[in-house]
């Protein structure tokens, strides 16, 4: 098991767990979104790592049969996933703006308290 050689995957794991932790542990809706973005970015990194070929160059065709290319498919896939990630963040931020207008706060515990009061009435 080559621990150092797999350092890309270690970075992926650290980023993923950090993102997930922020997502769960923070009450602030914007900070939650930062956590989600870090989490998603770690997945992009995972995909790009998968596409790496030892000694491979950028997958642009050149007139030399000895050139090794890295796998372009994960890059293409992750381009789609990045767009999805941006869209998710945009929707979440738009929702946060609306929540701020409706509640006057973006702290989850305060929102929960406001909702609990509403239910009593």
């Amino acid at each position: 098991m080559d621990v150092i050689g797999l350092y890309n995957y270690w970075i992926v794991i650290v980023l993923m767990m950090a993102g997930l932790y922020i997502l769960i542990a923070r009450y602030n809706l914007i900070k939650k979104m930062i956590g989600l973005s870090v989490f998603q970015t770690s997945i992009f990194y995972l995909y790009i790592t998968i596409g790496k070929v030892e000694g491979g160059t950028a997958p642009i065709l050149v007139d030399d049969p000895h050139v090794v290319y890295s796998n372009p498919l994960p890059h293409v896939l992750i381009l789609t996933a990045i767009v999805v990630g941006v869209a998710t963040t945009a929707v979440a931020l738009a929702l946060t703006v609306r929540i701020y207008e409706a509640y006057g706060t973006i702290e989850e515990d305060e929102i929960r308290a406001a909702n609990a009061e509403e239910q009593d009435i």
């Binding site: 809706l29 989490f39 995972l46 498919l73 994960p74 896939l77 998710t88 929702l95």
Partner: protein, 494 residues
């Protein structure tokens, strides 16, 4: 005719921006409804083509699989596509009046555009034959669902939508990780190709990781019991038409993908033989229908009660899946259809109550029968269907499920299903009793009568109800379709 699979997805996808351009509230509704009916017609034609067990493989852009992306349509998913597009059409007709109360008129066109995008995503998820494509369509449907939920009149709808967004994105990201590992282990994304290559993969551990991530991610999207947190508030606070649509389709589509993955891609030898998945799924299923039915009894809001009952019903479907037998899968598939119809009808009748009464607080429904007879009759019949009274669809699916469980000798699980049916009788019966008999206790209810809802709301509700009764009385039709779907799923890809 060859282009039908592409048309199925392209129709709503292209019409969504057109609806935005039209902008006029009435015209955008008409356009969206017509589109949805056309999509329904297309999926009906597709179902006719694959009924005999044949398979349609449509290579997008002429790029043959496994290089290109393909749509893969067989008996198992053509029916699900028909369920999704059919429910969408009926609920869209219903939505016209229902939405007027919750959504500002200037935003109607955005609502209908979002609806069409959601429909695109759901149908796309069902018919695609490419693993990464599933993720893309899943996100199309999810993002538009977040938007549709946020249209709810209450400010709590925003929080519910945000919560669903966070959990839904985590679920979708898990699915993305799973697909990544599958690609790393096999070097392909085409589902048919994946099924061939997974058994001889050089890195079984990567396959194992992919399997785990995909299972958990899809279970979040399907709202399986411990992971159902997002569903309750989302169903409660979303506009009622959206709830009716989502309750009938969104979780069902995720469950279909789950079945596809367990049986067709990984194969049941792997999922249930090696991974012992039934020891995960069956306890989750039993906990889901026992606990959620029990909690539903104590709810004071009709919408929330039905949301809990939805999670319970997902438990029945999951119990059928966990059997991994022909009969169990048949029960799961048939319950997917039946529950989709029943729950959409129930939420539609609740929407009618909401339209006239203004809230869905259960104590305020005293003697509603005398004021809104058509709505109440629809609620009662659909409610009996939920409980599983003979001659309704609920009976067909529960009977199939219980006999499938007994066939395997899992009689304790069958007893649990009966117990939870008794609980369902309790929570539905309580509401029916209130609506029919209890005298109003003065101040809470206004004495002047409510009128019945507009005809455009009643007609789709009764069409769905009639379909439910038809399939309840002539249960063999859906059963044979479900049997075909189950054997296709179990048989894997040809």
């Amino acid at each position: 005719m060859d282009q039908l699979p592409a048309l199925q997805v392209m129709l709503p996808l292209v019409m969504a921006p057109l609806v935005v351009i039209v902008r006029h509230p009435k015209w955008s509704w008409a356009l969206a409804t017509i589109t949805s009916f056309l999509a329904c017609w297309v999926s009906w034609l597709l179902l006719q083509q694959v009924m005999d067990g044949s398979v349609i493989r449509y290579a997008i852009g002429g790029w043959e699989a496994p290089t290109g992306i393909e749509f893969y349509i067989d008996r198992a998913n053509a029916g699900v596509a028909l369920l999704v597009s059919g429910l969408s059409s009926l609920v869209l007709v219903y939505a016209y009046h229902s939405i007027q109360r919750t959504v500002d008129k200037s935003k109607h066109y955005l609502f209908y555009a979002g609806w069409l995008l959601c429909l695109t995503g759901l149908i796309g998820m069902v018919i695609t034959g490419d693993a990464f494509n599933v993720f893309v369509f899943l996100e199309i449907s999810s993002l538009s669902t977040y938007m549709l939920i946020a249209f709810g009149s209450d400010r709590r709808a925003l929080v519910a939508s945000y919560r669903y967004l966070v959990l839904g994105s985590v679920g979708a990201s898990f699915i993305l990780i799973g697909i990544g590992f599958l690609y790393a282990a096999t070097g392909t994304l085409n589902m048919v190709d994946l099924a061939v290559r997974i058994p001889d993969s050089e890195s079984p551990r990567a396959v194992l990781v992919a399997f785990s991530f995909l299972t958990v991610g899809l279970m979040i999207k399907a709202a399986v019991f411990p992971l159902h947190g997002w569903l309750l508030n989302a169903y409660h606070h979303a506009p009622i038409a959206v709830t009716a649509f989502l309750a009938g389709t969104a979780t069902k589509v995720s469950l279909y993908i789950l079945m596809r993955m367990f049986f067709s891609i990984f194969g049941d030898d792997y999922s249930f033989g090696l991974m012992l998945l039934n020891w995960v799924l069956l306890p989750a299923a039993i906990a889901s229908f026992l606990i959620m039915s029990l909690v539903a009894i104590y709810q004071t809001d009709l919408r929330r009660m039905l949301a809990y009952s939805s999670v319970a019903q997902i438990g029945y479907i999951l119990a059928g899946i966990s059997l991994a037998t022909q009969q169990g899968l048949t029960a799961a598939v048939v319950h997917m259809f039946n529950h989709g119809m029943v729950k959409a009808t129930l939420f539609m009748s609740v929407g009618c109550i909401l339209y006239r009464v203004g809230n869905t607080h259960i104590p305020s429904l005293d003697r509603l029968m005398s004021r809104m007879p058509f709505t109440v009759v629809a609620f009662i019949i659909a409610g009996l269907g939920l409980v599983g009274v003979p001659l309704t669809v609920g009976f067909v699916s529960k009977f199939t499920l219980i006999s499938a469980l007994l066939e395997q000798g899992w009689w304790p699980a069958a007893v649990m299903i009966l117990v939870s049916s008794v609980m369902a009788t309790a929570y539905i019966g309580r509401v029916i009793y209130l609506m029919l008999f209890r005298e109003a206790r003065g101040s809470t209810v206004t004495s002047h009568g409510y009128r019945e809802v507009p005809i455009l709301m009643l007609v789709p509700m009764y069409v769905l109800l009639a379909l439910g009764l038809y399939f309840g009385i002539f249960g063999s039709q859906t059963l044979s379709l479900a049997e075909g779907a189950a054997s296709t799923l179990l048989g894997g890809y040809q």
